[in-house]
Amino acid sequence: ERGCSSVKDKDRGERGCSNEPRKKPVPLHEQTVKDEKGRYQRFHGAFTGGFSAGYFNTVGTKEGWAPSTFVSSRQQKAEKHNARPQDFMDEEDFGEHGIAPSEISTSQEFTSSRRDATREKARAVSAQAAVIPGDTLLEELIAPARSSIGVELLKRMGWKEGQGVGPRVKRKAGRQQTGSRLYGCVLPPAGSEDSEGEDEDEFAPEDVTFAPKDVTPVDFNPRLGVQGLGYRSLDPGLALMGRRDPEHMDLFRPQSETRSRLFGDKRGCRRGGVAGQAFGVGALEDDDDEEVYHRDSLSRYDTVLGGEEPGDGLYGWTAPQQYTKKRDKSKDASYLGKILEGFTLAQNPAEDHPIFPPPSLPRDYRPVHRFRPTLDASALSGVSPALAEALRVSKGHMVPEEPEHGGRHQLDSGQRRTLLGEDALQGPSSVMELLKPEDRQRLLSMRSSSNTSSTKTSQDAMPLWAGPPAEGGAASEDLRQQQEALTVWTGVQTSSQTFRPFEQNPSKQARYELYLNRLKQGDRGACGLEQSLDPGMTEWERSRERDEFVRASILYRPSSSTLTSRFTRAQGQEAEAGLEASRDQEGDVDDKQAAVNMKLFGKLTRETFEWHPDKLLCKRFNIPDPYTRYTHTHTHTQTHRYKHTHTHTHTDTHTHTNTHRYTHTHTHRYTHTYKHTQIHTHTHTQIHTHAYRHTHTHTHTHRYTHTYKYTHTHTHRYTHTHAYRHTHTHTHTHTDTHTHTNTHRYTHTHRYTHTHAYRHRHTRTHTHTHRYTHTHAYRHRHTHTHTHTHRYTHTYKHTKIHTQIHTHIQTHTDTHTHTHRYTHTHAYRHRHTHTHTHTHRYTYTQIHTYIHVHTYTHRHTHTDTHTYNVSCEYFYVNI
């Protein structure tokens, strides 16, 4: 009871939508979050990943993420894989609230601002994958022009958005504007009406036609403000400096009057301020007829970069043209500004497609369809013929119109063939026809004799046909069998040899053949069967014989339907060269036979084919697959160069020369020059996989984390898997030069002992042991064991507190030079020559200036998969 109520409370608290006041606030430790599967989610902190991340919270742990290994072999080339951010996301990230939502949503223009936020997130994610990471500026600035091809073509012809389209019109001169004056702040009707009003002032000669009136394009922009529908705010530009005539606004020509007006140049008779009837006309205004609510027209602006081509008339689309009385078809189309290249004027005007209005629906029409109930034949037995006929004519189908075929899959190939109207297959349709006549006869006689004997026994014992048909479901079973027999036998033409199951009873056999004939003619099973039975027999005998006939007809179905379904005709040369050799092939054999008879072996009797041995067979025979040989030469040169003040110089030269038995040469030449800054993380991964019994994988991972001046973390990962039966010559030359210049000033006497022990262990093939002993600042004991399959991370944190007391000056210079030369020669049915030349040159010039008592707290954290021990001990002797 108690627990139950607490659960309720918790639910209520989680939902927070209960009407009644919450009795008890949910304590902090009971506020839990569950995912969609009801599992608890652990909160990590807002900046470390939010809720549980990864598979069982493994993000951030060692098991959290394993880098996928790159494998590429000669047989199976790895495709270039460009990792996208989406590859590292789970479904939660793709969800509605994730960082990269991927779902069908309202397009940006028609969505609310909340949706915009999700899109923005997706955009930001995709921007990370852009050329310049995080850069979406350019995309935001330039939007692709989206217009239909019709609009595009019209624009090319000189049309501008907002202009009218159609044949030129003659403009009536002196048409008076009949519109009444408007009062108040109501906006006048838009657009072209205004310009029409201006017509009275225009010069409109009789013989000049004009382009049709401009139209206001329908505005499909979504409403963004809180104003009601149809609201159109005052255009401040217009209100402040109304214009008289709509001239093309050219922002780029300084002489343009419009431009000067736009920028408030008062050279013309221009006045500013809001004016109009609603506001009255100021005393200073001298122009009473000023159109206040003048509206701008889009046609006066270029909306597309580039603009119209020069040399195309003065005014393009709207230029007035000479009006001529002759109005033929071609002239009629001359209103077009210019005809685009590749287009010609249509000789005949496009046909008007009549638009048919939708049919007027009857008044009692209901847009719901009701199917009439289907009556089956069995229910129709007691119905009068007239009614049955009426039902048949009606839409509800009473009986199927034609004998229904089984499904597509129940037809055999011959039936499908006839349905499709294809020709019958040429050549023998059964194996029997391939045999010699005497063989066939022998086989048939054998078969019939054995079948007869077996039939005899089966008739004695009647194991198959015995037992009266079960009541109930048996009738439908009979029908099904009759149907099957019908499908088997229908359309069978060649019945030269069919098995005679009732041979010892000639009258029965005759009845059976009658039944078969009816089947072949496609007679309906039931009545055909009834008619073929002997009417003189008893009902029991008849039913029994009926069963026998049906089963026999199914059992001894014509051979064409059974055998053809089992055998397919072989294709290609194999079949032709086979038993049923074609005539040419026969002649070929004759030629060969003649050659053999003349003992002319050689070219005449020799044939050579391409033969593809199985790949595994070649492998087992230890030979190369003859159809995958190729020559491959690969040269790889990489040079990395990083420069910084602190000078570490690594010069790694890898020369791989693999000589394979089959002209397969890889030459890798790597020159790496690294000059590292203090804090630097470098990860270098190289994987080479050479297929063909030779897998060679190099993984070099260099990770240098310099948290402080003296901290170096090197991670090397080498995985060498060497092949057999190959000759490899590897020459690795490593030249490492480290130069450290430090200045230390000490107040105390220090004892320094450096012990570096490097142990490189190469898997399987070679072991390198480096043992360096440095006597140096501090006492460090380093034991390095390098196993060339590892990955490790070092994090050194140094905290130091200096307090100044007094000063000693000591200058200390160490120069270390390490030269390593490894030469490995392997002889295991293959020859490896590894020449590793490591030249480490460390130059430490350290001047330490410590002016006081030092308190050092060094914390070194190593996470290694191999043994790498660093212990630092500091001894301070106060003077």
């Binding site: 008879n597 050689g602 070219k603 033969w611 593809h612 067979l617 025979f621 003859p626 159809y627």
Partner: protein, 317 residues
């Protein structure tokens, strides 16, 4: 001072019967030397395969597991495994020491006429009455063949594997040579049903015996006939032929109870070895020495150059 060149020794022929082994396994269908020639395998019609010592004639092991008469057998290069094929359409890979069935390979649709290991015993190749050659993998656990070579139109009566080449003879009268390294199939038409095919030891020629009582030596690369050896009778039985260890002679079984031995170069009959009255079913030549095995009815006979010293002779001398 130089020694005079030793006179080239005249090639010797296995004229002398060294011993007769009564195999007690019904009719011996085939007799085969093992890889080094110290042991012999006899395939009996009583479903058993027997391993004998050649030098002593003693029975070492009996391998039973086939369901019908054993038709051919072969030993691996390291003598650790045997393979045999039978009329029961199956092949059996045997462990030599324990006589246990390592693997039983089924898949042929007819009786399996011939079987052979490849050089490294990694693949068993078998030719069958169903006209196919199947390549079985002995390394993996697969029970399906690696590849089925169904180019033959009729029963594959004989096959030989040497290095990367597979030679098959078929009843359709064609000798097929599959070259794995080149990926080619060369078909030589011989017209008469082939009973046995062999490579010469130098790998340049193929030998094929056919039911027109002729043994033909064909050049491997061109298919030209280098020699034709006749005189024996081979009309109805699948009888073996072979080359001597040094490619000096061609030997063939005959239905008249003899083994015919021709000089390879001259083509003349060098030896007509009377084996018995019945058909010489099978023969096998020692891989290095001049030693011949013949099988007739239920007996295997070992033939050598010199009459072997019996123990009594040794005692006497």
């Amino acid at each position: 001072m130089s020694f005079p060149q030793p006179r080239p020794q005249a090639p010797q022929l296995p004229k002398h019967l060294l011993r007769t082994i009564d195999c007690q396994q019904g009719a011996v269908r085939a007799v085969r030397f093992n890889a080094d020639g110290n042991y012999l395998l006899s395939c009996g019609s009583d479903k058993s395969l027997k391993l004998w010592s050649v030098s002593r004639g003693t029975l070492l092991k009996t391998y039973s597991g086939h369901g019908y008469e054993v038709l051919d057998a072969d030993g691996s290069y390291d003598n650790s495994q045997l393979c045999s094929c039978s009329s029961d359409k199956s092949l059996i890979l045997w462990d030599v020491a324990t006589a246990q069935v390592t693997r039983k390979l089924r898949g042929h649709a007819g009786k399996v006429n011939c079987v052979q290991f490849n050089e490294e015993a990694t693949v068993i190749l078998s030719g069958s009455l169903d006209g196919t050659v199947r390549c079985w993998d002995t390394r993996s656990r697969r029970f399906e063949p690696i590849q089925v070579l169904d180019e033959a139109r009729d029963s594959v009566s004989s096959l030989k594997v040497v290095q990367h080449e597979l030679l098959t003879g078929s009843v359709d009268g064609r000798v097929r040579r599959y070259d794995l390294r080149m990926g080619e199939l060369h078909v030589d038409f011989v017209s008469s049903p082939i009973t046995c095919v062999c490579f010469s030891q130098d790998g340049q020629c193929t030998l094929s015996s056919s039911l027109d009582s002729t043994v033909r030596l064909l050049d491997k690369s061109t298919g030209e006939m280098l020699g034709e050896f006749t005189g024996h009778k081979m009309k109805g039985y699948k009888l073996d032929c072979c080359l001597s260890a040094k490619d000096t002679h061609v030997l063939s079984c005959s239905e008249d109870g003899h083994v015919y031995c021709w000089d390879l170069v001259e083509g003349s009959l060098s030896l007509k070895l009377p084996v018995g009255k019945a058909v010489v079913q099978s023969l096998s030549f020692h891989p290095t020495e001049t030693c011949l095995l013949t099988a007739m009815e239920g007996r295997v006979q070992v033939w050598g150059v010199e009459p072997e010293e019996t123990e009594e002779d040794a005692m006497a001398t």
